[in-house]
């Protein structure tokens, strides 16, 4: 059986049914829905397209190639695991938001044109906001508002770019962009906002840690990875991406090392990992692009696993700060095990999925003889182990025992984590099924003696540094200032300065135009001769007290024409003018 249905539309229409279902049926429904979508994607033939006419344009809602399919697989696979994890959840609004979010992400991945891509892009931003708001705390409400504002700004940037691009090329099709102009630059910025590239990165660690337990798991996968997909599709081999990616890898590590909240640590490590992918896109060779896709695939799995493990701790203890946690290995050993598998995968330990995917990108840099890029990626690989590989499990599950004895999470959560852990290890030892899905043929063997030894050296000595420097890594009850400072504090400071400036201008206007000028004008107009003489006297007479004592103004007013002075003066002047004209022309 084959059905050329856009998977996005299938999932989105599936979301409409959720409010009418209850209890276990609803939970099973949300698990089965992505599984069926996975099947739909699997049976789609390469080259299939689904068009729709829209204002004389061809909207392509379905463009099937190897790149869109592999992202489709991982998005639905992750959705399946996320809903198994979220089985305990009784809030249908979160399910609706999540399914809509996932459906829109699939919409972006299978969109063949820029208009439908933009439509799904914005839909994704809106749906994902509800996963943050659903936590229903003041902090999550504020973070959600900031999140949507950043994404709307990024979306508008994208829209402006798309409009310029269409007006320049006349085509709405989404393909690799080679022109360097304002249109493509704006599109690139729009994509980079969602990829959380600095300086547009602060929204991610600001918003994701405020999401619900399951919201965090779901959010970690889609927004940044759809951006990675669009960058692979639209901007391969753009050199600037190499440097942006390299900055992201180091930036993510530095901030993750500073953070105290375990979910903020994981949020920064997303930026670090996406940095690897963006570097791969910038290198742009077949090997690095393959690596980028493979890494996105594996990253979604182990990152979701890490967020699940952190979410389980948050769910059971209600705490997420490292300073409040510690010693949980005693009562949450299985969550610890799953967390460690995720941590080892993100660190690219041989035998885990990170090793077989990240190596392709690093190797891609080597093949192109990009020495500095390669060095940054190796340093970042060591740094990943430092912050996500050891710091996260160490401070949450080991470190100082805070006396928390929460017990294990529920069975469905553990099932989901077990499933993701299995995938991490399976793809670590046997990556061939994943390699077969990649856009280009893979001729790479990750498991060579030298490579395995080099990786072990890198990681074990990183671990040694962590424990030697442990006193320096002591957690403090702090947060770190990121670029969101500009719109959270800087903007309010700017508004304050602007406000006080406006008040001063208003005061000055009041003084000049309301209080002083009308009175002075009134005095001049009412009795111009008196005013003239008074001004003259004031200018001539050095001693003002003399003028005041003799009350010159009142005396002059009485002596001159009084209120009738001005009209008479005016008449005289007009008469004089008329006389002069007559004399000249006559």
């Amino acid at each position: 059986m084959s059905a050329n249905v856009p998977p996005s539309l299938f999932l989105l229409s599936g979301a409409l049914l959720i409010p009418y279902l209850k209890g276990h049926i609803r939970n099973w429904y949300t698990i089965i829905l992505p599984a069926v979508t996975f099947y739909i994607i699997w049976q789609l033939d390469i080259g299939t397209a689904w068009h729709l006419s829209f204002f004389d344009r061809e909207i392509i809602l379905l463009r099937v190639d190897k790149l869109s399919k592999v992202f489709g697989y991982i998005f639905t696979l992750n959705a399946f695991a996320a809903f198994v994890y979220a089985y305990y959840l009784k809030d249908p609004s979160q399910h609706i938001a999540a399914v809509t979010y996932m459906g829109s992400a699939l919409g972006v991945v299978f969109a063949g044109d820029l208009i439908s891509l933009y439509f799904f892009w914005e839909m994704m931003a809106i749906a994902s906001t509800f996963l943050i708001l659903a936590r229903q705390t003041q902090k999550s409400l504020n973070a959600g508002m900031r999140y949507i504002l950043v994404h709307i700004s990024g979306g508008l940037c994208l829209l402006a770019g798309i409009m310029l691009h269409i007006s320049q090329t006349g085509s709405i099709e989404f393909y690799a962009m080679n022109d360097r102009n304002w249109g493509t630059y704006l599109i690139l910025i729009g994509f980079l906002v969602n990829a959380a590239a600095p300086p547009f990165s602060a929204w991610l660690p600001d918003a994701y840690p405020e999401a619900t337990v399951t919201g965090g798991v779901i959010l970690s996968a889609y927004t940044t990875k759809t951006a990675v997909y669009t960058l692979i599709r639209g901007f391969p081999a753009w050199e600037i991406l190499i440097w942006i990616g390299c900055i992201m890898t180091i930036y993510g590590i530095i901030y993750a090392l500073l953070e105290n909240d375990m979910r903020r640590i994981l949020a920064y490590s997303i930026i670090n990992q996406v940095g690897f992918m963006i570097t791969g896109i910038g290198i742009g060779t077949m090997m690095s692009l393959n690596g980028c896709v493979a890494h996105a695939f594996c990253h979604i799995i182990y990152k979701a696993l890490l967020w699940m493990s952190a979410g389980s701790v948050l769910y059971m203890t209600g705490k997420s700060r490292c300073t409040d946690l510690g010693g949980l290995y005693k009562t949450m050993p299985r969550t610890l095990l799953f967390g460690i598998i995720g941590a080892m995968s993100i660190s690219a330990f041989p035998g885990t999925s990170g090793f077989t995917s990240k190596s392709l990108i690093v190797e891609g840099a080597l093949h192109e003889h990009l020495v500095w890029v390669w060095l940054v990626l190796e340093i970042a690989s060591a740094g990943v182990f430092l912050h996500a590989g050891i710091k996260f499990p160490y401070f949450v599950f080991f470190a100082e025992d805070k006396g928390l004895r929460p017990g294990e999470t529920n069975r469905t959560m553990r099932c989901a984590m077990g499933f993701m852990s299995f995938l991490c290890i399976f793809l670590g030892f046997y990556p061939q099924p994943l390699y077969a899905l990649l856009p280009y043929p893979v001729h790479y063997q990750a498991y060579t003696l030298n490579h395995v030894v080099a990786q072990f050296q890198l990681l074990m000595f990183s671990a040694l540094v962590f424990f030697l420097f442990l006193p320096l890594l002591k957690r403090t009850e702090t947060i770190s200032i990121d670029t969101d400072w500009l719109y959270r504090k800087g903007l309010s400071g700017f508004m304050g300065i602007l406000g006080s400036l406006c008040t001063r201008i208003a005061h000055a206007c009041d003084l000049i135009f309301i209080r002083t000028l009308p009175q002075s004008l009134n005095r001049v107009v009412k009795n111009p001769l008196t005013s003239l003489v008074t001004s003259y006297l004031k200018a001539v007479c050095k001693d003002r007290a003399v003028l005041d004592r003799f009350q010159f103004h009142q005396r002059l007013e009485a002596a001159t024409f009084g209120p009738m002075g001005f009209p008479i003066l005016l008449s005289l002047m007009l008469w004089l003018c008329l006389f002069c004209i007559l004399m000249i022309w006559g």
């Binding site: 005693k330 004895r405 030894v453 080099a454 040694l464 702090t478 770190s480």
Partner: protein, 83 residues
């Protein structure tokens, strides 16, 4: 609920010492193959014995020290934005 006083494996200093020894031994073991194999080098220096060990050690030490340094400026109290 378990007892709050339960003593775990990592609460005993003896075990911590043992783990330190294991870590040093593993680090040492990872260096051994370098003496017997020749690595395909791209830049010359990456073929040195223990190159990746040194890279891991130095880069992590620098990352920690650098983050500590920038932390002096970037770290603020948790209620910083609510004030």
């Amino acid at each position: 609920m378990h007892s709050k006083q339960s003593v775990g494996y990592f609460d005993k200093p003896k075990n911590i010492k043992r783990l330190w020894i294991i870590l040093y031994v593993i680090c040492g073991l990872t260096l051994i193959p370098d003496f017997f194999t020749t690595r395909h080098t791209y830049f010359g220096i990456d073929g040195l014995i223990g190159f990746y060990a040194l890279l891991g050690f130095v880069s992590c030490a620098v990352l920690i020290l650098f983050s500590k340094l920038v932390g002096l400026i970037l770290k603020v109290k948790e209620n910083y934005y609510e004030r």
